[in-house]
């Protein structure tokens, strides 16, 4: 462990407070018994959760969010994982060029990608459908997830594959014994990021939603156009719970430190 000075500690505390404070406003609101947004809430109840689950558009939106986020997470993690695996086996200019190209989408505002996706999906006759929405979220997450996985594979040692092979491991066992143990951490971190980004995505959803493909954030925006009430808080809490459940599942699979990029030395 490195020594942390008091100055560093104060700065970290302020940054943390700043990051976390909004959550501490949203959570109490969710349990308010008021009809309007009042903070702090005058009393407590679960009425806004009840109201949330009574709205068919929200329940359906939640289901669509879960389905599309799961699908795009699987797709993105696979694509980004295989790409990053390829890139760590490249050298020199080729490596830099491919990494650069895959990061270019990060420079383009989601709004622009959303519009482009809209036209693209219309051509494929996929606009307003669930596959279209999933494709959009894949587009959204891919560069980010690729970056995370590539960073996690920085210490990837391709020689381990040769070492395993020379010791008698056929290709499938090389993959299981020498590749997988080196990449699971990166893949898990990538999957976590993909899932949370897809779940929370609003911009892309607004472009790509349709009758059978309106995820929760898009449904909430539509609702909030008419009124603003503590329902926002309760849906925020539901989102939070889903994210936490997802992280717990991944944690169960491979360890929390790995996902959050914290490692004991």
């Amino acid at each position: 462990m490195k020594k942390v000075g008091p100055g560093m500690l104060i700065v970290s505390a302020i940054a943390l407070l700043f990051l976390v404070a909004p959550i501490f406003v949203a959570i109490p609101l969710a349990f308010s018994n008021a009809r309007t947004l009042i903070f702090p809430p005058p009393g407590w109840s679960l009425m806004w959760f009840e109201a949330f689950f009574k709205r068919p558009d929200f329940v359906k939106g939640l289901r669509i969010s879960l389905v599309s986020a799961t699908a795009s997470t699987i797709l993105v993690t696979l694509i980004a994982g295989i790409t990053a695996y390829g890139v760590v086996h490249m050298h020199g200019t080729k490596k830099r060029l491919v990494s650069l190209l895959l990061n270019v989408p990060l420079l383009i505002p989601v709004l622009v990608i959303g519009i482009a996706m809209l036209f693209f999906l219309a051509r494929l006759r996929l606009s307003g459908t669930l596959p279209g929405l999933i494709l959009g979220q894949v587009m959204l997450c891919l560069p980010l997830v690729f970056l995370i996985i590539l960073a996690a594979l920085e210490n990837y040692n391709p020689n381990l594959e040769d070492a395993a092979a020379s010791l008698g491991a056929p290709p499938l066992l090389v993959f299981r014994e020498a590749v997988l143990p080196q990449v699971t951490t990166g893949l898990a971190a990538g999957a976590a990021l993909a899932f949370i980004t897809s779940m929370a995505d609003t911009t892309m959803s607004l472009f790509l939603r349709g009758p059978g493909a309106t995820p929760l954030p898009a449904a909430m925006i539509a609702y909030m156009r008419a009124r603003i009430d503590p329902m926002i808080g309760s849906s925020a809490v539901i989102f939070l719970c889903i994210s936490i459940v997802f992280l717990i599942i991944i944690n169960r699979l491979i360890g929390f430190e790995a996902v959050m990029g914290v490692r004991e030395e």
Binding site: N159, A165, G168, A169, P170, P171, E177
Partner: protein, 361 residues
Amino acid sequence: MYLELNHLSKRYDNVVAIDDVSLSIAQGEFVTFLGPSGSGKSTILRMIAGFTRSDSGYIKLNGELIQEKPPYKRNLGIVFQDYSLFPHMTVQQNVAFGLRMRKVSKEEQARRVADALETVRLSGYEKRLPNQLSGGQRQRVALARAIVIEPLVLLLDEPLGALDRKLREEMQIELRRIHEALGVTTIFVTHDQEEALTMSDRVAILSGGQLHQMGTPYGVYERPATDFVADFLGRANLLQLAVVACEDSLIKAKLPGGSLISVPAIGEVATQDDIQVLVRPEHISFYPPAGDTPCNTVECAVERISYHGSGAYAILNGPGDVQLIAYISARELAEHGEAHQGQRITVYWPISASTILSRRA
């Protein structure tokens, strides 16, 4: 021969990594590949291991063509320069890996792993992870992992490169001891010429993807085949001479400054040829050799004396801008006193100590 490489060549885009290399190695031999960085040592090793395919040529191991065999069927033990231990496995699991792949029973695995760890003197470290070991210990684990499968050939790619000098010398002795104990055919890669000369039965000297010479340490040092080999191994005086007379066993040739030199004749050399001749610094002396050994003599001026361990290198200016390096042992220095800069001096070397390297018509 046990292992034969035949006319191997390999290009990468615009680099020729291996250029028509042929060599053969007998069973149980300890052979070193020596060459500067980028000379193709690792590439040849990777070809033998099956990680890299040659563009042309073939490899025969124990009478069998292994070109089409994937690495996992070749049964070779490899130690990589970075050791490449599996970081998520303990020492025990690392060493047992090859046995597990061969579906050896648990009891036999345990027994053979213990044997291998004993051979590399690392018993008691079974439960450690690689990152809890020192560099030298990791190196031993890598070696144990490679020998435990009883490989046909042991391939060591600069296994001592990452160690400090003292540990390096210890491991050199260890490696020879293990080689003698197991008798396994071993190819050892290094770019350290001293290491190559002290450790090997034979040395293969590579440069620019070409095999320059393969021979015993004494042979490649005293009778180098090319000027590259002469220069790469130790320090060398490479004299450019013009042949003036050829006798049966002796060639008389002229230095640019006009001094006449005698060289033992080898190959076809004719009058008027330009030849290049090697004389090792340790054969050049300030004093005539004892007895009546036939000698060459050259008049020089001392330019600089640099002390070096057990003796000194004298940089000398001969006639016609020829520069010579002589190695003067401490004993000679003690007996005859130090030479000083600018001093005029006659140097001697036995005629038999000069070797013709190349001939240009």
